[in-house]
């Protein structure tokens, strides 16, 4: 596993460094290629299973790939080689509501989410999986149907590049909307801060479950939202509404952290209970961890 080696964490790209890279395509390629390079020493082998050829066993090859039937016939060790192909349709749902605009310059939650979406798209496309994109705030604002065509990735990346912050969050409505539009089983990756009514969000995600679609949820939060590190009396203005609260952080910190913890715990608990993978990411974490989570789910279910 990528993070398993003694220096595993250092192989991952720091989001700060990533932010200084140029286009989203470059970012995605850098992340994914680096990530896959790391996978050479990991148990993940890819998902497409079309047989290509036999090759004589070489020391170091995985014993599980040895074709024991051939061994029984020829008394020689051969390993199977497969050619990748896709049979998975995956939709990436990226939250572009105004609340995703929070973050440090160059790496807002939206930018982090876009980068994650791009990396996933790049990875899926490289594995011949069909990838689609749906950007939403309180509705789906941009929709690219899933496709595995070589040129489709570029379309996804360009779309991601052009995304702008939208309006108020209403996660459940786009979820239901997309769930209704999907015609066959597949996978949905939701990238959002999930700062919405949890009950409605979970109900929307269960809608995908009901239609046989696997769901991976990445809740992207900024470290400030997780730790509330403010010191001075501050006027907190809501990014999506005109609401504001003036508070002395030392007074409200415990209350805030308790509520945030309750929210995260509720997502983790209730989504886990219905078999939805839930991953909490903060914008300071390397994106490779998210890719790893995706691959883990992908290999488990497909």
């Amino acid at each position: 596993m990528a993070a398993g080696g003694p220096t595993g964490e250092r192989r991952f790209l720091d989001p700060g460094v990533l932010a200084r890279l140029g286009t989203l395509e470059l970012k995605a390629r850098t992340i994914v290629e680096g990530f896959l390079t790391g996978l050479h020493r990991s148990p993940f082998k890819g998902f497409s299973v079309e047989f290509a050829e036999y090759r004589q066993y070489m020391p170091g090859d995985d014993l599980t790939t040895i074709d024991w039937k051939v061994y029984a016939r020829s008394d020689r060790h051969y390993v199977k080689k497969y050619e990748e192909e896709t049979n998975l349709g995956c939709h990436i749902m990226l939250d572009v509501s105004a609340s995703m605009g929070y973050g440090s310059p160059g790496m807002t939650k939206l930018e982090y989410g876009s980068c994650l979406a791009a990396s996933l798209a790049y990875l899926m496309n490289r594995q011949r999986d069909a990838v689609g994109l749906a950007a939403f705030d309180d509705r789906i604002v941009t929709m690219l149907p899933a496709s595995a065509r070589p040129g489709h990735l570029r379309g996804v990346l360009v779309t991601l590049e052009r995304l702008r912050l939208g309006r108020q969050t209403d996660v459940s409505k786009p979820l239901h909307q997309l769930a209704e539009s999907l015609s066959k089983r597949g996978m949905v990756v939701l990238i959002s801060d999930l700062l919405d009514e949890p009950e409605r969000v979970i109900r929307g995600l269960k809608h995908f479950q009901f239609r046989g679609t696997d769901v991976i949820v990445f809740q992207v939060l900024h470290i400030d939202e997780l730790q509330f590190p403010f010191e001075r009396a501050t006027r907190f203005e809501d990014l999506e509404t005109a609401r504001h609260v003036t508070a002395v952080p030392v007074v409200v910190r415990d209350h805030y952290l308790r509520r945030m913890s309750e929210l995260v715990d509720r997502y983790r608990r209730e989504l886990g209970a219905v078999g939805i993978d839930y991953h909490l990411l903060d914008t300071s974490q390397p994106l490779e961890l998210a890719l790893l989570a995706y691959l883990s789910t992908r290999s488990r279910d497909y």
Partner: protein, 627 residues
């Protein structure tokens, strides 16, 4: 509202500091556009308006604290209209000497004083001074004339003698640097002025006399003496007609007989009393219409009244070694008191015991030759037990030996002699000290003495009562146990100065020795005006505090003299004096003094300080809750 020190109000400008800091350092609320504002809902948040109000409260409290501090320093007071218009002061000097103790006399004096208060110019503050041997400000000048009237009502006649000097100087002090009037309500006793008295008063203090009137005919007992086994009383008749007198004798508290006599008009006579033996006696004369205080006289049988003074010289021969000092002590003083004198050498003194030395009322050390360690310890013990010692600084006095003898940390270094032209003069530094009180009106005469050779005397527990014109201390008073120690920085026998040939020498020696003697060797006949501390200023038979001796305290019979002054004669002893440059506009200005009195009475600054502390306390609480 007025302020005693309004300049301190400038300190209120400091109240602008929090304002300026508030304005300069005011930072807009840090605003963060945040995604999870919902999480802050229902948190114990502080609303902006509430917080702003709290900040304004803090600011106001800080400003108020500084402003209150400035106000407290400015000494605020609520001024009355009279005080604001005060243009001068009227001080009533009310005579309370015993010459006003005849029936109805003091009541008339009080009425005249009240009249004077009522007649004081509009805009004047009015004060009251009572006087007899000394003077006391019983009511400082104030715009409240009722206070002055109350002070007059509360005054009572005493047993003292009239002293105009004390009255006028005290009243002038009460007026201070402003314009004022001194109304002297008195019976114009001629004895109130000492011979040659001339009181310098500020020219702006106008003196007026209100005459209580001619005293009634009076019989006074002016003296009692022993003749054989009988007592002889002297009775004075101050009146226009001859009078028969009846005297009653009481011995040791029991009636011991009566005597009668006749006294011609304005004359005195001796009246023999029945033979009596006892410890003490009192004689009274019937005089219901006259002055009451001089109708009785007290007497103590027994020892001589002349205190014994020891003079320590080289050989103990006073005729040769201490002639001037001996003669001065033997001379009769102004009040008839005199001293017995004994001489001893240092060596002889060293052989004495404390009982022998203790018989002496005072010791004058003019030589330390032969005074060995035992002698020094003996004298030091004498001082510690309350004895009085005068140490001179002649050539025969070793400073270290003398210091050891008196037990005081005194140093003395002889300076080389100077020529007659360079001779130093003497100037009292403390004219109120008992030694120089007699010279108060003639202090300049002490300056006529020329000192050719002096010593520099100093001591950590000493202070200078007089100085030479060159600045060195001439007479030091030192503390040593319960005794009194004086150090004279020259000699007393004319070897280093010409003091003995001056008229001031005898009174100086008398006053010095009287001070050293204190009550220790004093005779048993004391006057009301010169009692030691602890005795009431009333005639009678008293026990001296710390001495256990019974003494007779009598009134000063000079007050019984019926001689009176005219207003012109009274005024002749007053010399207008121009104020010193620094006296004009001094804090003693009546308006300012009135302001000070009002401020002191009201003490509003304390409330300002309390309010400031309260403001700071509230500020601390609010600030703690804010942060």
């Amino acid at each position: 509202m007025a302020f005693l020190s309004p300049l301190f109000l400038l300190g209120a400008l400091a109240a602008a500091i929090p304002l300026v800091l508030h304005l300069l350092r005011r930072e807009p609320d840090t605003t963060v556009r945040f995604a999870a504002v919902d999480m802050l809902q229902h948190a114990p948040v502080e609303h902006a308006e509430k917080r702003r109000l709290r900040e304004l409260m803090l600011l106001a409290l800080r400003v108020a604290a500084l402003a209150l501090l400035a106000v407290a320093f400015a000494r605020p007071f609520l001024s009355s209209s009279l005080a604001g218009a005060a243009t001068g002061a009227t001080v009533i000097a009310l005579d309370t000497s015993y010459s006003l103790s005849a029936p109805g006399r003091f009541a008339r004096a009080q009425q005249l004083a009240r009249d004077a208060i009522a007649a004081a110019p509009r805009g004047h503050v009015v004060g009251v001074v009572t006087f007899a041997d000394g003077a006391t400000v019983v009511q400082a000048p104030s715009s409240d004339r009722a206070l002055a009237a109350s002070a007059v009502d509360a005054a009572g006649v005493g047993y003292g003698t009239t002293r105009y000097r004390a009255a006028l100087t005290t009243a002038a002090d009460a007026i201070g640097g402003g314009e004022g009037r001194i109304i002297v309500v008195t019976d114009l006793q001629a004895s109130g002025w000492d011979t040659g008295d001339l009181v310098g008063l500020p020219a702006r203090a106008q003196v007026e006399v209100v005459d209580v009137g001619v005293p009634p005919p009076n019989l006074a007992l002016t003296g009692v003496r022993v003749s054989g086994d009988r007592l002889i009383a002297t009775v004075r008749n101050v009146g226009p007609t001859a009078r028969d007198v009846r005297l009653r004798l009481t011995v040791d508290g029991k009636p011991a007989g009566e005597a009668v006599g006749r006294v011609d008009a304005d004359d005195s006579t001796d009246v023999p009393l029945p033979a009596a033996k006892g410890t003490s006696a009192s004689i009274a004369v019937d005089d219901p219409e006259g002055i009451q205080a001089d109708d009785a006289r007290y007497f103590v049988f027994g020892e001589s009244a002349r205190p014994l003074v020891l003079v320590v010289t080289n050989a103990g021969d006073l005729n040769r070694d201490a002639f001037y000092t001996q003669q001065a002590l033997l001379a009769a003083g102004a009040d008839g008191a005199a001293f017995d004198v004994a001489g001893a050498s240092g060596a002889k003194l060293s052989g004495w015991d404390s009982v022998t030395l203790g018989r002496h009322a005072a010791v004058i050390v003019q030589s330390t030759r032969g005074l060995d360690q035992r002698g020094r310890e003996l004298v030091a013990e004498y001082v510690r037990r309350g004895g009085g010692v005068l140490v001179t600084s002649g050539l025969d006095v070793d400073a270290q030996v003398a210091a050891g003898a008196v037990g005081a940390a005194v140093e003395s270094t002889a300076l080389p002699p100077v020529t007659a032209a360079e001779a130093r003069e003497l100037a009292p530094a403390d004219v109120r000290h008992p030694v120089f009180r007699t010279f108060a009106s003639n202090v300049a005469t002490l300056g006529l003495v020329k000192f050719r050779r002096i010593a520099v005397a100093r001591g950590s527990s000493c202070h200078a009562l007089a100085r030479f014109s060159s600045g060195e201390a001439a007479l030091l008073e030192c503390t040593a146990g319960e005794g009194r120690v004086l150090v004279w920085a020259s000699d007393l026998e004319g070897r280093e100065n010409d003091f003995p040939v001056h008229a001031t020498f005898v009174p100086f020696i008398h006053e010095v020795v009287t001070f050293l003697v204190g009550t220790r060797g004093r005779g048993r006949d004391l006057l009301v005006g010169s009692l030691p501390a602890g005795l009431p200023a009333e005639p009678g038979l008293r026990t001296l505090p710390g001495d256990a001796r019974v003494v007779a305290v009598n009134v000063d019979t000079r007050e019984s003299d019926g001689a009176r002054l005219t207003s012109e004669q009274f005024a002749a002893s007053i010399a207008p004096r121009q104020p010193a440059p620094d006296e004009a506009g001094s804090p003693a200005d009546p308006r300012e003094r009135e302001a000070r009195q009002q401020e002191a009475r009201q003490g509003l600054w304390r409330y300002a300080i309390l309010l400031m502390m309260a403001a700071l306390a509230v500020e601390s609480v609010i600030a703690a809750r804010t942060t």
